[in-house]
């Protein structure tokens, strides 16, 4: 409120005063009145009220004033900052370095904020562990912040209560000797570690468990088994020529170091010279890693354990099973790689296999090159499968007085044998801290809303241990929300403290008191503290125990979900609608089985009129039953059932349901209309695990229920015959060496290309009147840049990061399961998945999966442009095909005529129903589309223009490769190159020169601006002699 001087008769102090007497100066009211009036009160006023004139004046004025009221709209003033915060220019984004805790590892980020509102996160390009790329979950974490179902108030047995009440609970605790137990999501924050120590000092009998919903960390246990101490391995696949994955989906979006793994793996697949790494994958389901394999074997995870034993035996480091040709081939290939190789086991494998891998890597000389073992200095911990049951036992015995659950959801995902919810009832105070009022919150006596990482101070350690600060970009959206460290501090001290002070306090011990402020500011700016990584060690492992035998028969493998993880992203619309990288299923979880297993069990996934109706089965394992629809995936291992966690959530929300009259479809099209998004989507499979919570269970039964469930995918099934449509072009390494330009070999003749046929007589529709030749184009400043893109199919893993990045950048709305089923999803960028077989007899048995990201190809002769009756889609002088939403009347002719089918139509008014908080997540630089208009990839034109504007303000030309599209920026594999084709030295121009380049459907003479680099497989000649000829 601006305070203005008000004329109120009292003289202001600053004015010179005349005074008659001391009492006058001292403002005796009686005297003031006396001296200011010449006559006695009442003597100078006219008798009665207003006189005739006054009456007439008032009457006239009232009439006039009454009229004024209609003259103006209510005024809503947009006020500029009266004190502008430093560096804040409205409309110009600010970037802050921060970090997100992902499965215990902090992923360094750079978050973009518009006028104090974070709208996009990217990888921190300066950070030693991130190349500026980011994965699915970092991108989607933005929407977590704006999730309309986030919990907003502190709850005590379900009713709102204040922070002070919680604080008094903490204070009551201080005075007594109580037993506290903490279940916390894994995090390597130094502040949290400090507060953990503080808590343990205050309450000496504290039990602290880093709770992982997926169960024991087999890798950590295996390494501990082999080395005798807890070491943290980090893999550098760029330093490996031979990579063997034993059911390790290290390239998957949900892999702990997925971004780093993908980036380093992709470096070995760039084919700059004529060398490329070779990847062997043995896996029980089809994963992103499996799609990149040069040799892939599908087998039960139990059989993979045996394969590990065979390889190790063939290498001579272990005496296990007799090696077969495949195992000895791999072993020989590994041994000739001179230490540039790595064997990596996955989460489905028991700790012993991980120990064996450590042994093999050491024997191969890979430790130091492709494998780095980091000493975190943390003491060896009991595996969760032992500590958690012990805790539950104590809870049952009433030995725990307070259970604090930090960002975990054990009621939902702890093994059912523990009967965790029942045990919680024996604890007098159970405090749940989380983003949602989830299953655990509903069972707890206390619930405190957790702040999002973009709202709170914190810190953490990135993949190699580098200290990374977490700084907020926005004040907590909900007043009651507290960060983990604030709550820990409250519990351990009974005092309230700000997160900022807590973090600073911890960092003072790191940075020292002297000149702390400068160092601290620099760290916040850079987003990391140099040289704080864990020290690496090269200890010799020892392992000769027997590997666990697995039963034959049907096995069940429970994995984290590649789109919603363990369920923590289940209420995230972007994640729910993100197609699974392999099955392309959205909004559901399924029991994936191979075609053979399906036919053995007599199960079908019926395809009728564009819709999949899958058999619903009862899956029985470890004495528990769940009902799930099946999904038949070619290339999946036989006798294995794969399921993913994170579905079947029950999240409470306070939002009212949307209810519209029968003639209004808003309630049906609004995905937020009926409670929390995640509630009721899919089935919880975490409860199929036994006490050990192992991902693999044997002795599993599948029984058909006779019911069907509709499954929605963004893509049809279908085998792509290699000889037919040349959409994905690929060759083996030998073929590539013989002819690097193999991709163009069978290219159909196109006018203008240098092929055999002479097209000089061929009439071209726009030859002389091509828009690109018009003066309006040539004279435009934009003409100087011609944008193009190259996508390398050899390094794309299909991890989906680009899709979510595009969604976040371009305000792409989410349409829900039903509408995706109607074929109306709005993703501008999709990743096409094709199954590929080369002349096999059984097409379904062992296909290869190939991925092809498909943005708008920005054709120079764009077929969409010529058919639009109102010129709503036109070409820009800088060579992009642009969509003018305001002009579009929605004939959909352009979409029909697009050979790539990349145009997306707003069948309903999706943006009308998005909740207020989700509106805050929208990028202010991109129009929100109304219903009835077409939309599509714009090559992130807003980024191009913004960069050009910035360059213009700085009075300089654009730097080389200064503009990055959202998909390119996020891609961990660096598979997308975007830039200016007019600059012969730009990244994209050089990539266009790549001999593997080809353009999709070039024969239509539409001149796409996107090129693909063909895939090359690098098979081991020893294992595949026939095909190499």
């Amino acid at each position: 409120m601006i305070s203005l001087p008000i004329v109120d008769g009292t003289p202001s102090d600053s004015v010179r005063k005349l005074w008659r007497s001391r009492p006058h100066l001292d403002q005796d009211p009686a005297l003031v009145e006396q001296v200011s009036e010449e006559f006695i009160p009442g003597a100078s006023e006219a008798p009665g009220g207003g006189n005739r004139r006054q009456f007439m004046q008032l009457l006239g004025a009232s009439m006039a004033m009454a009229g004024f009221a209609a003259c103006r709209k209510p005024v809503e003033t947009i006020m500029p900052f009266s004190d502008r915060p430093e560096e804040l220019i409205p409309g110009v984004p600010l970037h802050y370095a921060t970090g997100m805790n992902f499965r215990g590892v902090t992923r360094p980020l750079l978050a973009k904020s518009y006028d104090g509102r974070p709208v996009k996160v990217e990888g921190n390009p300066d950070h030693p562990n991130a190349s500026g790329s980011s994965g699915v979950f970092e991108q989607a974490s933005l929407l977590q912040l704006y999730d309309p179902d986030r919990s907003q108030t502190i709850l005590r047995t379900g009713s709102p209560i204040g922070w002070d009440d919680f604080l008094s609970l903490c204070q009551r605790f201080q005075t007594l000797t109580r037993r506290v137990a903490v279940l916390a999501a894994p995090d390597h924050s130094i502040t949290r570690a400090r507060l953990q120590a503080q808590l343990e000092t205050q309450f000496p009998n504290t039990r602290w468990i880093d709770y992982r919903s997926e169960g024991d960390d087999a890798e950590a246990l295996g390494i501990q088994m082999a080395h005798g101490q807890p070491l943290q391995p980090v893999y550098d696949f760029a330093n490996a020529d031979v990579i063997v994955s034993l059911d390790a989906d290290f390239l998957g979006p949900h892999a702990k170091n997925g971004n780093w793994n993908t980036a380093s793996f992709a470096q070995g697949r760039k084919l700059d010279g004529d060398q490329m790494s070779r990847l062997y994958v043995a896996e029980s389901t089809y994963t992103a890693t499996g799609t990149m394999a040069d040799h892939r074997r599908r087998m039960r995870s139990g059989a993979i354990t045996r394969l590990a034993s065979r390889i190790a035996t063939a290498m001579g480091v272990y005496s296990g099973e007799n090696p077969d040709a495949f195992a000895s081939g791999i072993a020989r290939d590994l041994q000739t790689a001179n230490g540039r190789c790595v064997v990596i086991a996955g989460e489905t494998q028991p700790a012993e296999v991980h120990a064996l891998c450590a042994l093999m890597n050491y024997a191969l000389g890979a430790v130091g090159t492709a494998v780095t073992l980091l000493d975190t200095g943390a003491p060896a911990q009991l595996p969760q499968s032992q500590s958690l049951p012990a805790l539950v036992e104590e809870m049952q015995a009433g030995q725990i007085d307070l259970l604090l659950m930090l960002n975990v959801n054990p009621v939902y995902d702890a093994p059912p044998e523990l009967n965790f919810q029942d045990a919680m009832g024996r604890v007098s105070d159970t405090v749940h801290v989380g983003l949602h009022v989830d299953e655990t919150a509903q069972a707890s006596t206390w619930h405190i809303p957790l702040t999002h990482y973009l709202e709170s101070w914190g810190d953490g350690r990135s993949m190699d241990g580098t200290l990374t600060p977490v700084q907020p970009l926005i004040a907590p959206l909900y007043e009651d929300a507290r960060s983990e460290i604030e709550i820990l501090h409250a519990l351990s001290s009974g005092q309230s403290a700000r997160g900022y002070d807590l973090v600073r306090e911890s960092w003072t011990s790191v940075l020292g008191e002297d000149d702390f402020e400068t160092a601290w500011r620099r760290i916040l700016h850079n987003g990391y503290l140099q040289d704080t990584g864990y020290p690496s060690v090269t200890a010799e492992p020892a392992f000769d125990a027997a590997l666990p035998e697995s039963d034959s028969g049907l096995e069940l493998v429970i994995r984290l979900d590649p789109t919603i993880l363990d369920g923590s992203f289940a209420n995230n619309a972007w994640c729910q609608e993100l197609p699974d990288p392999i099955t392309k299923i959205v909004w559901d979880n399924v029991a994936v089985i191979s075609p053979k297993t399906a036919s053995d069990l007599g199960l079908v996934c019926e395809y009728s009129k564009g819709r999949y109706y899958a058999d619903v089965i009862t899956l029985t394992a470890n004495g528990q039953e769940v009902e799930l629809p099946i999904w038949i995936l070619p290339g999946h291992a036989d006798d294995t059932v794969s399921v993913t966690m994170g579905y079947g959530r029950q999240i409470a929300t306070t939002r009212p349901e949307r209810d519209t009259p029968f003639w209004d479809t808003d309630d049906a099209t609004d995905i937020y209309a009926r409670g929390a998004l995640a509630s009721g989507v899919g089935t919880n499979v975490a409860k199929l695990r036994n006490l050990l919570a192992r991902p693999v269970s044997t002795g599993v039964q599948l029984t058909a229920t006779g019911r069907k469930w509709r499954i929605v995918t963004t893509q049809d099934h279908g085998i792509l015959d290699t000889d037919a449509r040349p959409l994905i072009r690929m060759a083996t390494m030998d073929e590539y060496r013989a002819d690097p330009a193999f991709a163009l070999e069978d290219e159909a003749p196109t006018p203008g290309s240098d092929v055999k046929t002479d097209f000089s007589d061929y009439p071209e529709l726009w030859k002389n009147q091509h828009p690109a030749k018009s003066p309006a184009f040539r004279d435009s400043d934009y003409w100087q840049n011609q944008w193009g893109m190259v996508i390398d199919l050899n390094s794309c893993t299909g991890c989906n990061a680009c899709i979510v990045a595009c969604q976040a950048e371009n305000n792409i709305q989410v349409v829900g399961k039903k509408e995706v089923g109607n074929g109306r999803e709005l993703h501008w960028l999709r990743v096409d998945r094709y199954f590929l077989t080369e002349g096999g007899e059984n097409l379904d048995a062992d296909p290869q999966i190939v991925m092809q990201p498909m943005p708008c190809q920005h054709c120079e002769n764009a077929p969409c442009e010529s058919v639009c009756p109102v010129a709503a889609t036109v070409h820009s002088p800088d060579g992009t095909n642009q969509m003018i939403y305001n002009r579009c009347i929605g004939t959909r002719y352009c979409a029909n005529n697009c050979p790539y089918k990349v145009r997306r139509y707003n069948f309903y008014n999706w943006s009308k129903t998005i909740p207020e908080t989700v509106q805050m997540a929208q990028n202010p630089n991109v129009s929100i589309r109304f219903r009835g208009v077409m939309e599509k990839c714009s090559f992130c034109v807003q980024r191009i223009r913004q960069t050009q504007k910035r360059a213009g303000l700085e009075d300089r030309p654009l730097h080389r490769d200064e503009v990055a599209t959202a998909c390119q920026q996020s891609c961990p594999a660096d598979a997308i190159t975007f830039g200016d084709l007019n600059d012969p030295e730009s990244g994209v121009s050089r990539a266009m020169q790549n001999p593997r380049g080809y353009k999709l459907l070039a024969e239509l003479n539409i001149k796409p601006r996107v090129s693909y680099l063909a895939r090359v497989r690098n098979p081991n000649r020893e294992l595949e002699p026939a095909e190499s000829s």
Partner: protein
């Protein structure tokens, strides 16, 4: 000798165009009578059904505009679904009228006189139905006028390369020329009605629309000239409209659409379906209104022959498309046609094939050509087949094109179905209003082809005349 030099060829006697030995007054009476009395109860029943369907159409359009195009079954690969299928279907039906009145007029096919009025009316109403669909199928119907070249301060102009824009012009020009042609033909008959009118109000209205027609020699001369000129003007339009409609498909690059055979094939198909619709309507009308002597079995048989001819032509086009797909060696093209015949929409394809190519072949048999129930059945089947032809072209080409990753299936919704059904309500309501208020047969023209109109008729038929 004399036989060989005698050049006179004795033509087989043409069957009379009007049977029952009707005189001029009989014709006037037979036709005008229906506009002057209460319509038969069948009319009321049909009207009740039609106007109910019309209401359904209105409700469906309101629902559509309120909620968006999502209420239909259209999806991402199939951007055009039923609305465009219906559009092409109705435009096709709207072909027969002008063909009958203009082209057959120029070719002096006098049998056209009995059916041209109602065929033309049917044309107009079908084109109204057709125009409805592209209008409501756009996403933002409130700015549909942007497709018109209206000068505006935004300096926005339509994009003339788009076949959709050509459609806008082609169909609206066709509608306007057909309307004028129909109205000019109506003038003498409206005057006849005016002269018979008993009620002053009716006389005033009809007097206004009959443009002061007195039947003077001068009026007839101007009328004949105008009619001839309009026929000449309308003739190229008959061919152009459906050619332009076919460009919507042919100009695109989608396999199955991108083919040069479309214009002639669409025109043949349009005439085919138009005649079938005329036949459906007239078989009912001549029975209900008792004008079997004016619209005779010979008329129906002639229409059946045209249906046989054009049906065979479209069938030929179907087969040619397959040949060209094979001959082109284009992978995508070949797949598009194989997919039509064997893919998920094979049922639609084979419905189309049997209705359009096979079924009309029964018309080689004269007995079937003259069997009213069979003609009626065939006329319905042909229109079902032609609707499926447009469905096959539109939907099967779109649902699987270049990239298999985007392949999908199209399922219509209840709104799709009710909107289509509702368009029949619009069509039938308009047609019933026409039957009620306007002469359904061109009386003046039929009178011209009566034997009595021969100046020497009474020389030959003195006795009959006397008898009368």
């Amino acid at each position: 000798m004399s036989a060989s030099t005698d050049k006179t060829v004795t033509l087989p006697a043409e069957p009379p165009l009007v049977t029952g030995n009707l005189g001029f007054h009989d014709i006037t009476q037979l036709v005008s009578y229906h506009t002057e009395k209460r319509p038969p109860s069948v009319w009321y029943m049909t009207m009740a059904v039609s106007s109910t369907l019309l209401c359904v159409l209105m409700l469906m359009i309101a629902y559509l505009v309120w909620n968006g195009v999502g209420v239909w079954g259209n999806n991402n690969p199939v951007g055009w679904g039923w609305p465009i299928v219906n559009f092409v279907f109705w435009v096709g039906i709207g072909h027969a009228g002008t063909l009958i009145s203009a082209i057959l007029f120029l070719f002096r096919q006098q049998w056209r006189t009995a059916i041209n009025r109602s065929a033309e009316a049917m044309t107009l109403f079908a084109v109204i139905c057709a125009l409805l669909f592209p209008t409501i199928h756009v996403g933002r119907v409130w700015v549909i006028y942007w497709t018109l070249p209206l000068p505006n301060q935004m300096e926005m102009w339509p994009q003339f390369k788009s076949p959709l824009l050509w459609d806008v012009f082609a169909v609206s020009v066709y509608f306007m020329v057909s309307l004028i042609f129909w109205y000019v033909g109506l003038v003498p008959d409206l005057a006849t009605l005016r002269d018979r009118a008993r009620n002053a109000f009716r006389r005033r209205i009809l007097g206004f629309f009959s443009l002061g027609w007195t039947g003077a020699n001068r009026h007839w001369r101007n009328y004949e000239k105008t009619y001839l000129l309009l026929a000449a003007l309308a003739t190229p339009l008959v061919l152009s409209v459906h050619s332009v409609v076919s460009f919507d498909f042919a100009v695109s690059i989608i396999p199955g659409w991108h083919t040069t055979i479309f214009p002639p094939y669409f025109v043949a198909g349009a005439i085919f379906s138009g005649f079938a619709m005329v036949m459906t309507l007239l078989i009912l009308a001549r029975k209900i209104y008792g004008i079997q002597n004016i619209i005779t079995m010979d008329h129906l048989e002639k229409m059946a022959i045209i249906i046989l001819l054009t049906g065979t032509m479209v069938g030929f086009a179907y087969i040619t498309e397959f040949f060209i797909a094979w001959y082109s060696q284009v992978e995508y093209e070949q797949y598009a046609f194989l997919n039509r015949a064997t893919g998920p929409y094979a049922w639609a394809y084979w419905t189309m094939m049997s209705c359009n190519l096979l079924f009309p072949q029964f018309f080689w048999i004269k007995r079937l050509r003259r069997s009213i129930p069979f003609l009626f059945l065939t006329s319905i089947i042909v229109n079902i087949g032609m609707w499926f032809e447009r469905f096959v072209i539109t939907v099967t080409s779109l649902h699987r094109d270049f990239l298999p990753s985007s392949w999908d299936y199209f399922n219509p919704t209840i709104v799709d179905i009710l909107t289509f059904a509702g368009s029949f309500g619009l069509f039938m309501t308009l047609f019933l209003i026409f039957l009620r208020y306007l002469p359904m047969v061109a009386m003046a023209e039929v009178k011209m082809v009566l034997p009595q109109s021969d100046p020497h008729y009474y020389d030959k038929h003195e006795s009959e005349h006397e008898a009368n």
